[in-house]
Structures are given as C-alpha cells and as structure tokens.
Amino acid sequence: MVLDKKKQSHIPAGILILLGVLVVLTPWFIFPVCEIKGTSDTGMTDMNMNPGTHMKCWYTAEAETGVGALIILTGVALLALPGRVSRKTAGIIGGILGLIVILVPTVLVGVCSTPDAPCRIGTLPALLLLGAVIVITGIYLALSKETVAAGPN
C-alpha cells in the first residue's frame, strides 16, 4: 500500500494540531500555572502585589496560548493544502514555533522562581516536552521525502 500525497500529510498535520491543542491547554488546565494566591517571582505572597498585576507564569501561559493557536493553524493549513512545498513550509514554521514554546517559559518570559511553585514543577517541564516533540515533528516534516512507499500493514 502506498500512501497518497494527501494521506502522507494527514498524519503529521493531525499530530501538529493535537500538539497545538495541548500547548494551549497545558498552562491553564493540564498543568495549570500558579494561581493568583500562589507564589510570585520574588517568592512573596500576592499580598505585596498591586491589584491587576499577575505573576510571571501567567504571562507565559498567555503567550503559550497564542503560540499554540499558531501551531494549530499550521496544522490546519497543512491539512487544507497538502503538497511538497506545504509540508516543508509547515515543517519549518512548526519547528520555529516549537522552539518558541520552549523559549517562552525559559528565556523570553520565564516562570516563578520558587522551586516548588506549580508552574515550575508542572507547567515548565510539560511545555519543554511538548516543545521538543513539536520541533522533532517540524524537522521530520521539513526533511521527509514526499513519496514514501509503505508496505502492507
């Protein structure tokens, strides 16, 4: 059985969409970031925080929601426009977005510094793991050849 062009793009596109959804859901529902009553960047309780401000990890969660949405969009685009150029483009964009998923909680925005803060022990490793898988999927898409003959299943 040889997978046709469309089907070849279906699986990685589906994986990209799934990973994008996970990036969106992780900081809010799966491994939620610190609640407002938790610990902040300085380790202070929120008593010292001005009303309306959030801890660092909150902004990470917001940024990751945006990046996750872009990853979903990339997957949908690949699903709608299968083809060699689309695969490569989606691969490159996906790879870069995967890198951003990793960079947001580590370099660009960061998470709370308290060692036991929920965002540090749960959200951060989950996002790093997701980011790594997205980067690998992107590299696979960018480098894979178009027609891979698949044998009988």
Binding site: F31, G38, T39, T42, G43, M44, T45, S113, T114, P115, D116, R120, I121, G122, P125, A126, L128, L129, A150, G151, P152, N153
Partner: protein
Amino acid sequence: MLGLIARSIIHRPVRNGALILAFAFIAASLFSGHYLLAGASDSVKSEIAKLGADLIVVPANYTADSEAVLLRGEPSTFFFDNSVVPRIRNVSGVEQVEPQIFIASLTASCCSLPVQLIAIDPTQDFTIAPWLEQKREKPLGPDEIIVGSKIVAGGGTNLNFFGHSFIVAGKLDPTGTGLDTSIFLRTDDAYKMANDSQLNAVKPLILPQGVASAVLVRVNDAAEATNVSYRIVDQVPGTRVLTSSALVTTVSDQLAGITRILDLSALVATLVSLPLIALISLMVANERRREIGVLRALGATRSMIFRLILGESVIIAAIGGIIGIGASWIILVMFQSYISVMTRIPLSIPAVSSLVSISILTFVITVAVGGLAALYPAVRSALMEPYEAIRSGEL
C-alpha cells in the same frame, strides 16, 4: 540475516509501529514503578546520611510528626524534656548525641509557606559542622542561619522569623527531602528569637527551657545500630527511634499503591499483548509463507527460518523497550518535583547503579515477552515444507 529482518520490519511500518508502542508501554510501566521506588529510598537514605546520624530519637507520641518533618518537610513544633539526652548518651553503643529543637515558623518574607526551623547546639553538632568544613565556612555565628536548597534567599540576605532578624550564612545542597525546606539556627538564637517574639511577633513563640525535639545519635558500630535502637527504647521510656531502614519502609509503604498499579498495568499489558503479538506474528508468518518457502528452496535451513521470525519479534520488542525506558526516564526526571509534591514522597534521581540495573531488568523482560510471543509462529514456519509453503502462499 539482520538486513532481512530490518527490511521486513520497515516493510510494515504501521503494524510494527503499533507493536513497538505496545512494547514501549510495557517497558515504561515496569521502569517507572521501580524508578520511583529506588528514587524514594535513595532520597531517604541520603537524608539520614546528610544528617550524619545512624539513629534519630524522637518523642514516642510525635512519631508521625517527626516523620513528616524529615520526609516531607511539613513544619511542626514538638518537644520532650532534654533530660533524656544524657540518658541516651549513657546507653551502651552510643558514640555521640546531638539534641535538636524543631520549630515551625510563621509565614515569613522568604517563603510563602511556614518552614521548619531546626535549632542546633554548635558545641555538640555533627550535622552542619562537617558540611561547613567541606565548604570552608566558619562555624555558625550569632544570628546566622543555614538554609535548605528550596528556600529562596541567597547568602547575606536578612530573614525575619518571629520578629528576630537572621543573616543567611550558607545554603545546603538539594536532598529531595524535608531538609530542603528547613532552616538551621543556633539554640541560643532560638531562645533569643522566642524572647523577641513576645514583643515583635504576631503570634509569640513559646519555647520552654531544657527541651529537645529530636536527638540525633551516632553509634560506635553501624552494624549494631538496630540493637542500640532497641536498648534506647528500653532504657529511655517515652522515646521512639527512627532508623534509616524504618524510614525507607515508611516511604516504600506509601509508594506501594503507585508501584502496585504500575506493575499491574505492565502485567495486564503483557497478558493482553502476549497473545495479540503472537497472533500478529502468526499472521505475518502466514502472509510470508511464499517468501519462507522460497528461502527454504534456496537453501535456508529450518533454524534460519526460526531465527528470522523470532529475531524480528525480538528486535521490535528491543526497539519498543528502548523507547519506553528512554521516554519514561526523560519524563520522570523532568517531572520529579511534580511527582514528589503530588505523592508527598521525597524523591531524588536514583543512583546510577540502580538506574542501570532497573533499565537492564526492564529491557530483558520486554525482550523476553517479545521472544515468547513469537516462539510458536517461529516453530510453525520453520517446520513448513518449502513446496507446501510456496503452493499455499500462492493461494
């Protein structure tokens, strides 16, 4: 032979991918359970070793609290009369004793939650002193404190407890246990702090004179530790002795549920996948009758065919095993703190020797399952006559 097996595996990507995933799941379940158990017991052992004690004597009616302080860093304040200290010192086999006082702090500026303050007597101390010597630091001075690795405060920072100001003199290395959220101070300073608290603190600290919360004991002969612990309980009523092995047992019991579930899921996965994998191998062998027949006609021996079918399953199991072990290793290391907080069990990365032995054990079991599943199809294929095989393969 290997090339033939590799081509055969690549030729059926979806089916073999699914088989690899099944083996990866078996390996991951097995590996995770034993990793957690090894990580927890290593962590507890390192805690006792870090304290430099062979035994810890605590008030009999506060055993649970002392375990909570040591294992999970749940702050607690409890005492017994320190008249027990000379009596413990007199028990035969005891080399050195060190009384410590445990005080749970109020919410402090450093920390969002109360921390455990541990008051030590520098003249009798053998817990912090070796660590200070190793780091070439001076002995703990007045109002100086040593903080655990999880306390967010660098050296030289001022921290306030019960209205008394302290200076951070050093930070301990991470242990993955209650020590990470503890703060060590001098007993004299603890009493000064209790005095200051009457005026400055929201809730004054009541610290009676002549008390201790735990007495750390070093024995002459480590092999005699258990006997010494019996003698202490016998000769000093109202005490309970915590040993390294007893604490490991407590943690193992707490973990028993999780490890049992993981082992059970590995067993269920094995039981379900064993016949399934056998069936798939049988189907593949049936599909490949013609190929096998041709190979036999070309001079391949029965043992070659047997090894071909068995080898394919073993290699798939090995790939699955490596993926399962690798993936669970990465996930367990990354989520170590999360698992520790959620299960309320101290956890550290197990020693390399135990990691290697767990990985090898898991790998061998996974490969054995693969081999076992392919045994019958391999024998069946090997026993096929070439002419019969080619003919039935054509149908």
